[in-house]
Symmetry: C2
Subunit: 111 residues, 2 copies
């Protein structure tokens, strides 16, 4: 027996969670939403729509679009997006650790 | 912005969670799975199948069926079921409180 869960930040719908966090982490590494969505097996248009929806619900932009240039443009995380990521990462780890601890505390004999 | 989540005990599928807990609480009060499922807007057969599935995944019975008698039978929670409920209730409250705390700790400026 184990504890299973899903969690997300909500603001009139899902505003942020593990999937978006992973996507942004990959954008941060590759400087490209194309690359990031490809790596996650997600179509570019789906990733793009997801980002738009999250931005609307969060009330701030997550990505700056750089167009043109020799590299053919790319994507960069906004300062607000970086700030959100920097809070979400440790929050998520804290949650994981804490839930495990609570589960063991309350359900010792069912494990 | 708020934190949203779903959680459940898992053992090759959902083995227990808020819905089953609420259903068992009502069985405990009414001594009847008929009553309990009716109160929750669930068909009796759906409730019955749910209980059977949970029992299989948990590896023990949740309900004892009392048949016949003047009252036309009824349902009673097994000792293992009561024990599970008595752990799940405080666990759930603990989770709720702890997640709220962690959310506020990590996302103060987004609230």
């Amino acid at each position: 027996m184990k504890l299973a869960y899903k969690l997300w930040l909500d603001s009139n719908g899902k505003a942020f969670g593990d999937g978006p966090y992973e996507l942004l982490r990959r954008v941060h590494k590759t400087h490209s939403l194309h690359q990031a969505s490809f790596q996650m097996g997600m179509s570019y248009s789906k990733a793009w729509n997801l980002i738009r929806t999250l931005e609307e619900r969060l009330g701030f932009a997550l990505l700056e679009r750089k167009t043109g240039g020799r590299s053919g443009g790319g994507s960069k995380i906004t300062p607000e997006g970086r700030s959100l990521m920097k809070q979400y990462g440790p929050f998520r780890k804290d949650i994981e650790k804490t839930l495990k601890k609570l589960f063991h505390k309350h359900f010792r004999q069912f494990l």
